[in-house]
Structures are given as structure tokens and as C-alpha cells.
């Protein structure tokens, strides 16, 4: 059983964690920045989808169909393809098409279409009657969006956000190919390419812990709001 003992001592060796710690930091930074970008663009695009759909606050039939079609088309592309497609865009925005900055933009763009649809469907959960009540007191569209739809859909929105962040973390594994670094990169480079199983296991374990944190945290936040509102 000395093989297993070797594995364990490798797993907890300083050498291993000298690689893992910076990778954790990279993953956290990469995920946080992409999450913020995804949140902003996903909320904005989801709102546009909601507002322009038939029966929405400002219906624009043709635009909605085309725009929704583009979102769905992007959503159906494999993330690897989207990253390849968006790296030139990163070059335009930050002047480089490789490295962590470029990858963060690519990651955000990869997950934004999916999150936009999730935002739209969370918003659609708000009962029509509440929107009509707001209209009946003369609320403007932006007031209906910010004071009715957003707060009323908050628990569902947080759950959608949780899922989207986890999807984003799972895509970060590909980031390594483009110089983004992070745990996924470690798992691929050390674990897969060089057969260093302990590196693979360490990287995967930390990824699972991060995802679990996000999942439990998001669920607790959503539950807290539901409980506060006595729903």
C-alpha cells in the first residue's frame, strides 16, 4: 500500500500546494471578474428580452424574435467555440487575445446568453397582476422593472445566478488553453498531460469545494429572503 501512501504524501506536499494555491487565486479572480461581467450583461440582456417580448412593457415583436434567436444561437455553441470566437474581441477591448484578462472576457461572454435567458424566465415568474397593480397607480416602466419585477423575482434570480456562476466555474477549465491559468488549467496540465494524479485530485477537490460554497451560499441567500417575506 505504499503507492497510496506516496499519493497521500504527494497530495499534501508543499510542492503540490505551491502550484495549487496560486491556481486557486487565479480561479477566484477569473471567476469573480467574469461573474460581475456576466451579471451586468445578463441582467441587461434579460431585461431587454423581457421588455420587448409580446405582452411585455414595450413589445417589439420582430426585434425580440431576432434578438432572442441570436441569444439562443450563442447559447447552443460549445463554450470552446465561443471562447475562440470572442478572443479577437478581447484583443479589441484590452489589446490582448491571450492571458487572464482576455479569458475573463471570453468566459463572461460564454455564459452571458444562458444567464440572460435565466434572468428573463425568473422575471417572467412575477405575477402579471402585480405588474398591472403597479401600472394602475401610474408607475413608469423603469419603476415597474426596478421596484416590482426585480425585487419580486429576487429569490428565483439568486438561484439562477448561482447556477450560472457554477456553469462559469466549470468553463474556467478551458481557460488554461488560452493562458488563463487556474485550477482547471492545473488539472489538465499536471493531471492529464503529465499523469500527476495527486495534482489532478487536489485541483478537482478544491474546485468541488468552491462550487459547493457557491451552491450552498446561493441557496441560503435565496431561502433567507423567502423566509423574511413569509412566503
Amino acid at each position: 500500500m505504499s503507492g497510496f501512501e506516496d499519493f497521500l504524501s504527494d497530495l499534501f506536499s508543499l510542492k503540490t500546494w505551491d502550484v495549487i494555491w496560486p491556481a486557486i487565486l487565479d480561479t477566484l479572480v477569473m471567476t469573480s471578474v467574469s461573474t460581475i461581467l456576466m451579471a451586468i450583461f445578463g441582467l441587461a440582456l434579460g431585461t431587454v428580452l423581457l421588455v420587448t417580448r409580446p405582452g411585455g412593457l414595450r413589445p417589439l415583436r420582430v426585434f425580440n424574435v431576432i434578438f432572442g434567436g441570436i441569444i439562443d444561437a450563442l447559447r447552443s455553441l460549445p463554450s470552446m467555440v465561443i471562447i475562440i470566437l470572442t478572443l479577437p474581441l478581447a484583443k479589441i477591448i484590452i489589446g490582448r487575445s491571450w492571458g487572464p484578462g482576455a479569458v475573463m472576457i471570453a468566459l463572461a461572454l460564454t455564459c452571458t446568453p444562458m444567464f440572460a435567458r435565466m434572468v428573463e424566465s425568473s422575471f417572467l415568474e412575477v405575477a402579471r397582476g402585480k405588474i398591472e397593480a403597479a401600472k394602475s397607480i401610474g408607475a413608469r416602466n423603469w419603476e415597474i422593472l426596478l421596484k416590482v419585477i426585480l425585487p419580486e423575482s429576487l429569490p428565483g434570480l439568486i438561484r439562477a445566478f448561482t447556477i450560472a456562476i457554477i456553469a462559469l466555474i466549470s468553463v474556467t477549465a478551458i481557460a488554461g488553453w488560452f493562458g488563463g491559468g487556474g485550477l482547471g488549467d492545473v488539472a489538465v496540465r499536471y493531471g492529464y498531460t503529465r499523469f500527476l494524479t495527486h495534482m489532478l485530485v487536489a485541483a478537482v477537490a478544491v474546485l468541488i469545494i468552491i462550487v459547493e460554497f457557491v451552491q450552498v451560499g446561493g441557496e441560503a441567500w435565496a431561502k433567507h429572503i423567502v423566509r423574511k417575506r413569509h412566503l
Binding site: 397593480a133 394602475s136 401610474g138
Partner: protein, 280 residues
């Protein structure tokens, strides 16, 4: 309120003229390709006068078009043709911004209450006031005043999820009245409530009508509500007004099929002979 009350009674406060409304049919969507987009005429040539300070009932069976008619008054539904006047304003020709401003003078309450679960009672009422751009101080004072009026002062920091149906409807009323509307529109506001709670909500509306002289339009499919609260009533049947008059006249001498059925059912249900009727 005061300037509205000085209005002469020369012409009716609310006038509805030749109002028509059609809906694109719900059938034909996702069905066979040859399904034609049918249109349903929901309101047909509606003419109605309502006096200031009245409690006016609109009654009819389910699907008669009552809600649609009521919702045309604040243009939650856009009429196809016809004219609606309230006071000096021609509702049907207001621009979008004028409409938003005018809606602040019309309160509306609903069967399902439609309160915001994300806000406490006080903040639900405050929502109306913030939409009307009242000052912070004026808002706080008005919230206190209006919650007092509907008897919910001790519930101001509760969430709707903590309230009973009757309390929720009182919040709905408070929200609708916050901006001192000139008309209150009620769409089956008591239909989801237990009888004695419904009664207390109706009493509140009657009380508000007496205290503030507020014009109230009550849509209902329950004859008891008309009988209890309304001075005048219009009967809607398949999108047409088939009868209108004082509640007493319409109830004692019903002309329309709808009202005859309503009165017959009501008489059977309130008669003291137990299970002797042949049913409806």
C-alpha cells in the same frame, strides 16, 4: 377631492360612449396551420353614465366582459373605439405620459390583491406615493394616515405573507387610495374572501365613499355585493349592457336574462323553504 366636489352635476362625472373592444382569439395558436386568427368581440357599443360620489355596480356572468370594461377606464386595456370621459379628461385620447399621470388619480383593487411580497405593508402603500413623487415627509405622514383609515396601523411592518385575505385587501385599498384618487375601481375585490370578511371590506368601501365622497365602481359576479353596496347597477351580458338603473329597480323588476337568473338564484338561496326548489 374638494375641487372635484364643487363640480356641478350638469353632466355625468364618468361618461362612456360607444365603447368597443375586441381581442385577437386565443385559439389558433400552435394548432393547425389553417386556423384563422379569430377576433372576439368582448365589449359591444357600451354606453354608460356614472355620477360623482356613486357606488356603481357592474354585474354579469363570468366572461361577460366586466373586467375588460373596468380596465378600459384606466386603459390597462386599450379600447378599439369609443370615448371615455372622467371629469374633464378624455381618457381615451390621453398621451402616454398624461395617462400615467391620470392613473395616479384612479385607484384600483383586485380579487388577488396583487400586493408586493417584497415590501412591508407600509412600503406597499409608499410605492403609490413614490410613483407620484411626493416628498419623504408627506409620504410618511400619508402612509400613517391611510393605514389608520383602513385599520391596519398595527400591521405596518408586516409582510403581505403574514396577513389574512381581508387584511391584504385593506392594504390593497390603502395603496389604491394613497394618492387621493377621484375614482376607485374594484375588480371582484371581495370575491376571494370569506363572507364575513367580504362584508367588512364592503363596509370599509361604503364608509370611504361616505367620508370622502369617492366614486366607486364595483365589478362583481355576486348579486349580494350589488344589493349590499351599490346605488346603481349595469348588467353586462356577452359584452353588451342589457340593463341599467337603480339597484332597487333592477332587482325588483329584472328585464335581462342575466338579471332574471341572478334574482331567481338569489331568491332560491335565501328562501326559507329547504330544498323545495327544482334547482336552477
Amino acid at each position: 377631492m374638494t375641487e372635484a366636489l364643487t363640480d356641478t352635476k350638469a353632466q355625468p362625472f364618468i361618461q362612456i360612449r360607444n365603447l368597443n373592444k375586441t381581442f385577437a382569439g386565443r385559439s389558433g395558436r400552435g394548432v393547425a396551420a389553417n386556423a384563422t386568427p379569430q377576433t372576439v368581440e368582448v365589449l359591444k357599443d357600451i354606453n354608460l353614465d356614472i355620477n360623482q360620489g356613486d357606488i356603481f355596480g357592474i354585474v354579469g356572468f363570468s366572461g361577460a366582459g366586466k373586467s375588460t370594461l373596468l380596465r378600459c377606464l384606466n386603459r390597462l386595456e386599450e379600447p378599439d373605439s369609443g370615448e371615455i370621459r372622467i371629469g374633464d379628461s378624455v381618457i381615451t385620447s390621453l398621451s402616454h405620459n398624461e395617462l400615467l399621470a391620470f392613473r395616479r388619480k384612479l385607484g384600483m383593487i383586485f380579487q388577488q390583491f396583487n400586493l408586493l411580497d417584497s415590501r412591508t405593508v407600509a412600503r406597499n402603500v409608499d410605492f403609490s406615493l413614490s410613483v407620484a413623487r411626493k416628498s419623504k415627509a408627506a409620504r410618511a405622514a400619508r402612509v400613517t394616515e391611510i393605514l389608520d383609515l383602513v385599520g391596519l396601523s398595527d400591521r405596518r411592518d408586516f409582510y403581505p405573507g403574514q396577513l389574512s385575505g381581508g387584511q391584504k385587501q385593506r392594504v390593497g385599498i390603502a395603496r389604491a387610495l394613497a394618492n387621493e384618487p377621484i375614482v376607485l375601481l374594484s375588480d371582484e375585490a371581495t370575491s376571494a374572501l370569506d363572507p364575513q370578511i367580504a362584508l367588512s371590506v364592503l363596509d370599509l368601501l361604503i364608509d370611504i365613499n361616505a367620508k370622502l365622497g369617492l366614486t366607486i365602481i364595483l365589478v362583481t359576479h355576486q348579486l349580494e355585493v350589488i344589493k349590499y353596496a351599490c346605488r346603481h347597477v349595469a348588467v353586462l351580458e356577452n359584452g353588451r349592457i342589457v340593463e341599467k338603473g337603480t339597484t332597487q329597480d333592477v332587482l325588483t323588476n329584472p328585464q335581462s336574462d342575466t338579471m332574471k337568473v341572478f334574482v331567481k338564484v338569489n331568491n332560491s338561496m335565501t328562501s326559507d323553504t329547504w330544498r323545495e326548489g327544482e334547482g336552477i
